[in-house]
Every structure is written in structure tokens, then in C-alpha cells.
């Protein structure tokens, strides 16, 4: 004789400490087990793509800052690369190296935030988050030194970067890069022996490689499921083909693997930074382009490997300074579709931790 349960609907509402922004989850629960997940997005929609159709390409760069606001440099880079391909603009070598440096710094900062908030979702009262924020603070300081802003940097320009970093940038960067490996080892040691954390994250939220590819998963989540796909290796842009680094790939596709893939990517980013600092030449930091750049009519899809995955820009030009169509392929939105697969059949704490491991930013989802 068993008792019957009727499922009830739980609304993890737009304002919630752990939905990583204004994002609504309607969860149909049967006791402690989730039966269905309904994701309602759009609370942060700012109609970026429509507004972009009335502005020049350079004026659209600040919009991209605010799409994935935790990875502004990567967003800027994506748009600039796409426009350069469309308009046939050459980028000086120093600018490419600077772009790589800032993209990797942004990757470290974003992964610190992603991993820290995921461990906070598992319950650790922000302590690991605040430890990882030490490095993020220094990186944001570097950003502020160079372009004046910490978060919405608006740094890349079509044809290069907007400012050459000041003289005090390089010693600070070198200091950061030198102490990073020791810090990463510290974070590894915090996690590897913590049984509670391992019990909360291993075999939770497993996505197989086939499911990941079918669901168009990208970024560290995809690599955590075992698929070795990184755009920096597959379609090298800027000067990534001159850098010697490796791509970490997980084994089981669970939350812990995604966490470790991000930690390892921070280590690889440090390697890239060291090589970039050593190899960077002198020279101009951008090519001059007309104020209202009129690319030839056509379309382009330019993509970069942001901290969250493949960030793509689909641009259609009709010869005018403003794009005819401006579309952002948002990694967070497409990654989010796999939450349903992970959450159904799991309990609520597991679903929360799995959502944290997907590393979504609502600005990216809603644009």
C-alpha cells in the first residue's frame, strides 16, 4: 500500500539567490523529485539586436559588453572579428596579441566567478567565491588601468584595440601571471579533498557526449562531457595558432568534470598569457577605419571561444554603416536547453548545482 502524491508546481522566481540573474524556472515536483522543468526567459531582454540595426558597427560594440556582462572582452572580440571579416580590415600584430591577452584575462575572471558561484550554490557560503575573487579583482584592476572600466569594457575596436595599455600594466600583469599557478594549486587542494563537495558534484547532472553534441552544447560544459572541441584550436583566430596550450576534457560529463575543466582552463590561460607577454611586438594598436564603416554587402558569421563557449555574431550588411541584421548566437541560451535533461529525475539541490555548472549569464540569454 503506497500513498499517492500529487505533483506541485514550484516557482523559482525571477528574484532568487541562485538563478544567476533574473530568470524564472517553473519546476513540477513530485515529492523531492523533479518531473518537469519549464524555463521562462526574457526578463532581461533589452532588444539589443533591433537597436543594433540603427547604429554603426562601432557604436554597437558597447551593446555587446552588456550581452554577456561577465565576459565583455570576448563579446567585443567576437563582434570585431566578424566585422573585420565582413569589411576586409587588417589588424596589426600588436593588436592581435593584446586581444589575446585581454580575452584570456577575461576567461580567468569569468571562470573564477562561475566556479565560485557554483560552489556557493552547493552551500559553501561564498568562501571559495571570495578566495577566487582575489584574482578577479586584480584582473578587473588591469582592465580599469587600460580602458577605464571593470565590467563593461568596450575595449576592442574594428581594426584593433582602443587603447595601448599604460606602462604600469605590464609589471602588474607579470606579477599576476607569476602567482597564478600557486593560486590554482591552492584552489585544487581546497576541492580535491573536500568530501562534501565531491559527494555533491560527482555523478550529478551527467550529460553524455552524444547528448551534448545533439543539444548544441558548447564551451566548458561540452568539454566536460568529453568532446574535445575548442574554437581556439579548431578555427584559430587572432594569434592563437602561435600559442602552445592544451584543451582540458572531462571524463564523465558530470558537474565535477565541468568544474575541473574550468579550473584547468584557467591554468592553460595562464600559459597563453605567459607566451603572449613574451612574444608581443611593438607597433600600432589599431588600424584607422572610417568613422562610418561601410562594409560590402554580404553576410558573415564570426565566432570566438568565450568563457561560456562559442559566441557567434551573424551580420548581414547592405552597404550602409548600420547592419541590416545583427544576431548574437548566445552560448548561455543554447546551453540552458540541456538543463531540462539534467534536472528531470533529480532532486532540487542537484538541479540547482547543475544549473550553476552550466554557467549561464542571463544577459547573454536575453540580450
Amino acid at each position: 500500500m503506497t500513498t499517492a502524491n500529487e505533483p506541485y508546481v514550484l516557482n523559482i522566481g525571477p528574484q532568487h539567490p541562485s538563478t544567476h540573474g533574473v530568470f524564472r524556472l517553473r519546476v513540477v515536483m513530485d515529492g523531492e523529485v523533479i518531473r518537469d522543468v519549464d524555463m521562462i526567459v526574457g526578463y532581461l531582454h533589452r532588444s539589443m539586436e533591433k537597436l543594433a540595426e540603427e547604429r554603426t558597427y562601432t557604436q554597437n560594440i558597447p551593446f555587446t559588453d552588456r550581452a554577456d556582462y561577465l565576459a565583455a572582452m570576448s563579446n567585443n572580440l567576437g563582434l570585431c572579428l566578424a566585422v573585420e571579416r565582413l569589411a576586409g580590415v587588417e589588424v596589426p600584430e600588436r593588436a592581435s596579441y593584446l586581444r589575446v591577452i585581454f580575452a584570456e584575462l577575461q576567461r580567468i575572471a569569468s571562470h573564477a566567478m562561475a566556479n565560485g558561484t557554483m560552489v556557493s550554490d552547493a552551500g559553501a557560503w561564498q568562501t571559495p567565491l571570495l578566495y577566487m575573487f582575489r584574482e578577479r579583482e586584480k584582473i578587473l584592476d588591469l582592465f580599469e588601468m587600460t580602458c577605464g572600466a571593470r565590467l563593461t569594457t568596450n575595449y576592442m575596436r574594428i581594426g584593433g584595440v582602443s587603447f595601448d595599455p599604460p606602462p604600469e600594466f605590464w609589471p602588474a600583469l607579470r606579477e599576476l601571471v607569476d602567482e597564478m599557478p600557486a593560486r590554482i594549486d591552492e584552489y585544487y587542494s581546497l576541492v580535491q579533498d573536500n568530501e562534501i563537495f565531491l559527494a555533491r558534484t560527482q555523478n550529478v547532472g551527467v550529460i553524455s557526449a552524444a547528448d551534448a553534441i545533439n543539444g548544441s552544447l558548447v564551451g566548458p560544459a561540452l568539454r566536460g562531457s568529453g568532446v574535445p572541441w575548442d574554437l581556439r584550436k579548431a578555427e584559430p583566430y587572432c594569434v592563437y595558432d602561435r600559442m602552445d596550450f592544451e584543451v582540458p576534457v572531462g571524463r564523465r560529463g558530470d558537474v565535477f568534470d565541468r568544474f575541473m575543466v574550468r579550473m584547468e582552463e584557467v591554468r592553460q590561460s595562464t600559459r597563453i598569457l605567459q607566451q603572449a607577454i613574451a612574444q608581443i611586438p611593438d607597433g600600432p594598436h589599431k588600424t584607422e577605419i572610417p568613422l562610418a564603416l561601410r562594409p560590402a554587402p554580404g553576410e558573415v558569421y564570426g565566432r570566438v571561444e568565450g568563457p561560456r563557449g562559442e559566441l557567434g555574431f551573424y551580420l548581414v550588411s547592405d552597404g550602409t554603416p548600420a547592419p541590416y541584421r545583427f544576431h548574437v548566437r548566445a552560448p548561455s541560451l543554447i546551453n540552458l536547453s540541456l538543463l531540462k535533461e539534467m534536472a528531470v529525475g533529480a532532486s532540487l539541490p542537484d538541479a540547482v548545482v547543475a544549473l550553476g555548472s552550466l554557467d549561464i549569464v542571463v544577459g547573454d540569454i536575453d540580450r
Binding site: 506541485y8 514550484l10 539567490p17 541562485s18 523531492e32 560552489v119 556557493s120 550554490d121 552547493a122 552551500g123 559553501a124 557560503w125 561564498q126 568562501t127 571570495l130 578566495y131 582575489r134 588601468m145 599604460p166 606602462p167 604600469e168 605590464w170 609589471p171 602588474a172 580535491q192 579533498d193 573536500n194 568530501e195 562534501i196 565531491l198 559527494a199 555533491r200 560527482q202 557526449a209 552524444a210 553534441i213 568539454r223 566536460g224 562531457s225 568529453g226 568532446v227 574535445p228 572541441w229 592544451e246 584543451v247 582540458p248 576534457v249 572531462g250 571524463r251 564523465r252 565535477f256 568534470d257 575541473m260 575543466v261 584547468e264 532532486s347 532540487l348 539541490p349 542537484d350 540547482v352
Partner: protein, 474 residues
């Protein structure tokens, strides 16, 4: 590259650089302050010497000014009142009132100071400073918090049951206060030194369960009910390991009276945490579940269901729930100190330092351990928690109970000197703890999760076939 140039310091960097710790500030004091401090230090030394002379010479024992045990002045007061010919009710009521005021001021004071202590200590763990704006060193922060909570509007949810909504904050505060009754602060200083102290402690803590459930139920809110269910399940499950570990203590010391348990530890010059390590750990861990602290705070898991059973409470009602979490923490600290850490005794030091100060220090130490656990550990999932209680803690506590039963009989009835019997018990219990726990864990099929997988590093790029290639190779 360019020359090594440093950027001029931002105002925040200047502030960080100029920040000096307490020790640095003390050392940097001017000459006048140092003289005053020197005089004060000399005076303290003289006072300590005088105190030592009084203690050694026996001038303090049993006099009315013997503040090492506040029960002695109280008993002198009672004799004086009886000598005046007053009815017996007057001294009874006076001592009850004095003791009650003492406990009230202790708990009330702690609820104010404790929130400051907790926030600053957690901040230290998180390499930041904690509240330091409101008042010197942020000491007025709890006052600001209390004022904020008191002036908030009391919101009662639409479908909530009035009586059942008002009752839980009161009901949950009762155990936090009543639990202090049997705690012995000095040989003659416990509020009610009842013969059934241990059972009283367990009984009082079980009243909190009802309060939690009523709070969740009456809020007419799914989140609150979910949190209340989880919390009640956890609290009820973990009452059993607490009772079993305390039963081991009672068997060994042969009495339910808390003062007798402390006296046993004094007599055998050993703390029960050494003799009963498994029971001590069980008690500590199960208590974190009883009082809903991390790593067992699944009921009020802020990152998941906002605030659990007290989501709908606003203003001072919510303040009471938060305060009771704090008050329960030091109550458990007092219990832990009394049962396992020797209570007010410290191997003879209680002749010199008042026993209540020693107990207060131990309570502070246990509370620090609780804050440490909160700042560092993530929380357990509910099914992991329940599995741990039922499959692991309870069987081990029962096994420890059986072992202790034999040992206590040996200690009490064999004619061997204490050091042999108690030492033997310590050895047996240590073996039981380390070996037995491992054996039991592997026996119930627990696989140690320490085999954390590290990611592969690869230079290949590809899709599904590349993934399978890599997996085959690794």
C-alpha cells in the same frame, strides 16, 4: 618592454595599505599611553598576586565573597534571609529570580554580541573584514540590525493561520532558554541541578521540532512547507544519535545529573572527549543538524529555497528565528563542554579562575568550531544527510553503547586503579573509532569519493569520434 612603472595608488589601495591590525596599532601608541598601560599592567599583576595569596591561604573558601563559585554568596544570602525569619518562599523566589536574570542576560547578551562575532569571524575566513562601519570595529552592528528588524512591517501572508503563525517564534525560543537550566557553571552554581538533567536536555530540544513544523505549515507557502518538512525530518532523525551518544556518557559516569558528569571528569582527570571520541563526534555532528547549521542547514538553504520554514516571517519574528539559531549554537556549545570537555573544571585550575569563566571559554571554543564549519563546508543534500544518520551514526552509536556498557562495568566494579581501567577504555575506544568506523563504512558499501577525476589535456579537436578516440586512449 617598457620600464617597470608603478601606477599611483587608488584611494582603495591607499586604504588597504594603511590599514593596521590591532597589534600594530597598540605598538604604535605614544609614550603617554604606554605609561598608562604599564601602570595598568603592574596593577593587574599586583591584583593577581593578591588573589593568588587569598586562594592559596584559604581565605576565600566558603566565605560570602568567594566569587569563584557564585552559588556560595547566594547560599549565604539564603541563610541570612532564613535567619531573618522570612517565609521559605522568599529565598526560593529570590534565588530563582537571580538565576533567571543571570541566564536571561547571558542569552540576551550573547544574541547581541554573537551576531557580531559570527560575522567578523566568517569574514576573517573569507579574507575580508566584516562589519566595521557602525560603531568602533562595527560593534554597534547588532544594535543596528535589531533596530532595523523591529521597525519592519509585520506581514502576515494571506492564507496564514493566525494562531499558528504567531506561535512558532515564541515556541522556538523556549528551548534556547530552558536548556540552560541544568548547566553547571561551578560546583554549586547551576540553576536547577535536576536528577534527570540529560533527559531534560533531550526533551527540551525536541520541542523545537514542533515549532519548526508549525512555522512552515502556517505560512501557506510551498517553499516554507518544503523547508519545514526537510528540517523536521532532519531534526527528528538526528535526535537519536544525540540520545545514544549521551547515553554512552551516562553509562560511563553512572548518573544523569550534569554536575555528576562534570565531577566524574574531574575525579578521573580526563575529559570524556578522550574516552569517548566517537560519541563526542556523533554529538557534535548531530547537534549541527539539530540546530540547523551548516553543513546540515538544508532546511534553510538560502541558495535553493530562499529561507525555508521562516521565509514568510518578517521583522522581529524572523529576527527571533535567526537569533535562536545563534542561541542554540552556544547552548550546544555548553552541552558539548559539559559532557565532553570537562565543564567548568580544567585539571585544578578552577581553584584559581572562576569555573564559569572556564566554561565560558570552552563554550566560545566550541562556537568557534561551529563558525569554522559554517564558513568552510558546503552543505549536504538531504538524502545524503538522512543516509548518514540512519545507516552510519545510529549503528555506530549502538555499537559504542555496547562497548561502553562493558567498560563502565569494568571501571565501576573491578578493583583495579582508575588509570588502568580508564586507560584501557580509552585505548579500546580509540581503536573502535578509527578501525570500526572504516570497517563499518566499507561494510555498508560506502565508496570513498576522494577518487576525484582530473581532466585530460589534449591537443586534438573534433566531435563525437574524437571524443571516443580520446576516451579509449586514456
Amino acid at each position: 618592454m617598457t620600464a617597470d612603472v608603478r601606477r599611483p595608488a587608488t584611494p582603495m589601495e591607499q586604504q588597504i595599505r594603511e590599514h593596521r591590525s590591532l597589534v600594530q596599532r597598540a605598538l604604535a601608541l605614544g609614550g603617554g599611553w604606554k605609561f598608562i598601560l604599564g601602570v595598568v599592567g603592574l596593577g593587574t599583576l599586583i591584583a593577581l598576586a593578591a588573589g593568588g595569596f587569598l586562594v592559596v591561604g584559604g581565605y576565600l573558601d566558603g566565605r560570602w565573597y568567594d566569587i569563584r563559585d557564585l552559588g556560595i554568596p547566594t547560599s549565604h544570602l539564603v541563610y541570612w534571609m532564613q535567619a531573618q525569619g522570612l517565609s521559605p518562599a522568599v529565598p526560593y523566589l529570590t534565588t530563582a529570580l537571580l538565576g533567571g536574570l543571570g541566564i536571561l542576560s547571558l542569552v540576551g547578551g550573547w544574541l547581541v554580541i554573537g551576531s557580531w562575532v559570527e560575522r567578523r569571524v566568517i569574514a576573517k575566513f573569507q579574507i575580508r573584514q566584516g562589519p566595521n562601519r557602525v560603531g568602533l570595529f562595527g560593534l554597534l552592528q547588532p544594535v543596528a540590525d535589531a533596530v532595523k528588524l523591529m521597525q519592519k512591517e509585520i506581514l502576515i501572508p494571506l492564507g496564514a493561520d493566525r494562531l499558528l503563525f504567531f506561535l512558532p517564534p515564541i515556541l522556538i525560543f523556549l528551548p534556547a532558554m530552558l536548556g540552560w537550566a541544568p548547566v553547571p557553571w561551578a560546583p554549586r552554581m547551576s540553576y536547577v541541578d535536576m536528577n534527570v538533567g540529560v533527559v531534560y536536555v533531550i526533551a527540551i530540544s525536541s520541542l523545537g521540532v514542533l515549532a519548526v513544523f508549525l512555522a512552515g505549515w502556517s505560512s501557506n507557502n510551498h517553499y516554507a512547507l518544503l523547508g519545514a518538512m526537510r528540517t523536521v525530518a532532519m531534526m527528528v532523525s538526528y535526535e537519536i544519535p544525540i540520545s545514544l551518544s549521551l547515553l554512552s556518557v551516562v553509562l560511563l559516569t553512572g548518573s544523569l545529573q550534569l554536575s555528576q558528569i562534570v565531577a566524574w571528569q574531574q575525579q578521573y582527570h580526563v575529559w570524556l572527549i578522550v574516552v569517548l571520541p566517537l560519541a563526542a563526534f556523533t554529538f557534535l555532528f548531530a547537534s549541527t543538524a539539530e540546530i540547523n547549521r551548516t553543513p546540515n542547514d538544508i532546511g534553510e538553504a538560502e541558495s535553493e529555497i530562499v529561507a525555508g520554514f521562516h521565509t514568510e516571517y518578517s521583522g522581529m519574528k524572523a529576527g527571533l528565528f535567526l537569533a535562536v539559531e545563534l542561541g542554540n549554537a552556544i547552548l550546544v556549545g555548553a552541552m558539548m563542554s559539559t559532557f565532553f570537555l570537562g565543564g567548568y573544571t580544567l585539571f585544578g585550575l578552577e581553584l584559581w579562575i572562576p569555573g564559569y569563566l572556564i566554561l565560558a571559554t570552552k563554550i566560545g571554543a566550541v562556537y568557534f568550531v561551529f563558525v569554522w564549519l559554517r564558513a568552510t563546508l558546503p552543505r549536504f543534500r538531504l538524502d545524503q544527510l538522512m543516509g548518514f544518520a540512519w545507516k552510519f551514526l545510529i549503528p555506530l552509536a549502538i555499537i559504542q553503547l555496547l562497548v561502553i556498557a562493558v567498560e563502565s562495568m569494568v571501571i565501576a566494579q573491578s578493583g583495579l586503579p582508575g588509570i588502568v581501567t580508564v586507560g584501557g577504555s580509552i585505548a579500546v575506544n580509540l581503536v573502535l573509532t578509527f578501525v570500526g568506523v572504516r570497517a563499518w563504512a566499507s561494510g555498508i558499501g560506502y565508496v570513498s569519493e576522494a577518487a576525484a577525476s582530473t581532466p585530460l589535456l589534449t591537443n586534438t579537436v573534433g566531435g563525437l569520434r574524437a571524443a571516443e578516440r580520446i576516451r579509449v586512449v586514456s
